[in-house]
C-alpha cells in the first residue's frame, strides 16, 4: 500500500467521524435523559385491560401517570397505596383527570381482566387496572425493574413485590418513584412536578 492510499483512507475516516459528530450534535436531546439518568426505566408495552382487550401503553400518553405493581389478593399495602394516590391526585389542579393511576397485576394466575377491573373500581375514582399473560407481565416487570415472587402461605399464597410507585410524565418517560414511607408533602411535590 502506498503512502498516498493510506492518506486517502485516513482522510475518508476523518470525514466520516466529522459527519457522525455533526449528526449526533444535531440530534434533539431526549426529554427523558435530560430529566434524569434513569431513562432506562419504563418503555412501551401492551397488556390487557379490564375489558379483556389489549391495552397499549400509548393510551396513557397525554397526561402524567402513576404506575403501581401489585395484586388483588393484597389486602394491605396495595389498597393503602392506591387510596393514597387517589387522595394525592385530588389535591392537583384538574383533580381526578390530572393524572392516570395504573394498577398492574403481578399475579396474572389469579387476576384476570374482571378481577383487576373490579379491584380498580374500589377506590371511588378512576384507576386503570391491567393484567396480561404471564410472559407479558414478566416483560413489563423487566422494563420497570420490578421484582415479584410468589410465597406460599397457609390458606393460599402471597406475592412479595416492589412497593414503589413509578411516576411517568405525559410522554411516558420515567421521572421519579414514590416510596410508601415518604411523607405526603414530598409525594405531592413530586406529583405536581409531573404536571409542569
Amino acid at each position: 500500500m502506498t503512502n498516498h492510499r493510506i492518506r486517502v483512507i485516513l482522510w475518508v475516516l476523518v470525514a466520516i467521524a466529522a459527519i457522525g459528530g455533526i449528526w449526533i450534535a444535531l440530534q434533539p436531546p431526549s426529554p427523558a435523559s435530560r430529566e434524569s439518568g434513569l431513562a432506562t426505566i419504563g418503555g412501551p408495552f401492551t397488556l390487557t385491560g379490564s375489558d379483556a382487550r389489549p391495552f397499549p401503553s400509548s393510551r396513557l400518553n397525554g397526561k402524567p401517570a402513576a404506575i403501581f405493581f401489585g395484586f388483588t389478593h393484597c389486602p394491605d399495602v396495595c389498597p393503602t397505596t392506591l387510596a393514597r394516590l387517589v387522595k394525592l391526585r385530588r389535591q392537583l389542579d384538574g383533580g381526578d383527570n390530572a393524572m392516570s393511576i395504573v394498577f398492574i397485576s403481578v399475579d396474572p394466575e389469579r387476576d384476570g381482566p374482571a378481577e383487576v377491573g373490579s379491584y380498580a373500581s374500589l377506590f371511588g375514582a378512576p384507576v386503570v387496572g391491567l393484567t396480561g399473560k404471564p410472559d407479558d407481565i414478566e416483560r413489563v416487570k423487566k422494563l420497570y425493574g420490578v421484582f415479584s415472587q410468589r410465597v406460599e402461605q397457609p390458606g393460599g399464597y402471597t406475592v412479595d413485590h416492589s412497593a414503589s410507585v413509578f411516576l411517568m410524565d405525559r410522554n411516558g418517560h420515567f421521572v421519579a418513584t414514590l416510596s410508601p414511607d415518604e411523607g405526603d408533602a414530598v409525594a405531592l411535590a413530586k406529583i405536581k412536578r409531573l404536571q409542569a
Binding site: 388483588t72 389478593h73 393484597c74 389486602p75 394491605d76 399495602v77 389498597p79 393503602t80 387510596a83 387517589v86 387522595k87 389469579r110 374482571a114 378481577e115 373490579s118 379491584y119 373500581s121 374500589l122 377506590f123 371511588g124 421484582f147 410465597v151 402461605q153 397457609p154 390458606g155 393460599g156 402471597t158 412479595d160 413485590h161 416492589s162 412497593a163 414503589s164 416510596s179 410508601p180 414511607d181
Partner: protein
C-alpha cells in the same frame, strides 16, 4: 432499724409480684371494602391497661374462613406480608395497627366487605380471656 427496712423492702418486692393482671381493651376496629375473592385487612387498637404484659395469639371471625395476624414490612423496596406469630402487648401500653404494618388478614370472606357494614371479630390472648370487637367497614380511603 435494719430489720424494719428489710421488712419494708420485702413487702415492696412482694407487692411488685402481685401487680394487677393484663387488662385488654379493643377499640377503633376498621377494614376497607373488598371485591370478589380478595381478602380483607382489619386494623384496630389493642390497649393493655393492666400491670402485666400479654400476647395476642390469634383472631377469629364467622365472617371469613381464616383470620390471621399478619405483619407487613418493606425490605429493600420489596413489600413482604408474613404471618406475625404472637404479638406482645406491653403493660400499660397500646398497639395501634395501621395500614402498611400489622393487621388481621381475613382470607375466604363469606361476602365481600362493603362500606358501612360491620361484623364481629374475636381476638385471643395468652393470659386474658377472649375479647370481641365490632369491625366497621370504612370507605375505600380507610382511616
Amino acid at each position: 432499724m435494719i430489720l424494719r427496712i428489710s421488712t419494708l423492702a420485702l413487702l415492696l418486692l412482694a407487692s411488685c409480684g402481685q401487680q394487677e393482671a393484663a387488662d385488654i381493651e379493643l377499640s377503633n376496629a376498621w377494614a376497607r371494602p373488598t371485591v370478589g375473592q380478595a381478602p380483607g385487612a382489619v386494623y384496630l387498637t389493642i390497649e393493655n391497661k393492666g400491670g402485666q404484659p400479654d400476647r395476642l395469639t390469634g383472631a377469629f371471625t364467622d365472617h371469613a374462613a381464616m383470620a390471621m395476624v399478619h405483619q407487613n414490612e418493606v425490605v429493600d423496596g420489596i413489600a413482604k406480608m408474613r404471618m406475625a406469630g404472637e404479638i406482645n402487648i406491653p403493660a400499660r401500653d397500646r398497639i395501634e395497627m395501621r395500614p402498611g404494618g400489622t393487621h388481621i388478614m381475613l382470607e375466604g370472606l363469606r361476602a365481600p366487605l362493603r362500606s358501612g357494614d360491620d361484623f364481629d371479630l374475636v381476638l385471643k390472648f395468652r393470659n386474658s380471656k377472649d375479647q370481641a370487637v365490632k369491625v366497621t367497614v370504612t370507605n375505600p380511603e380507610g382511616k
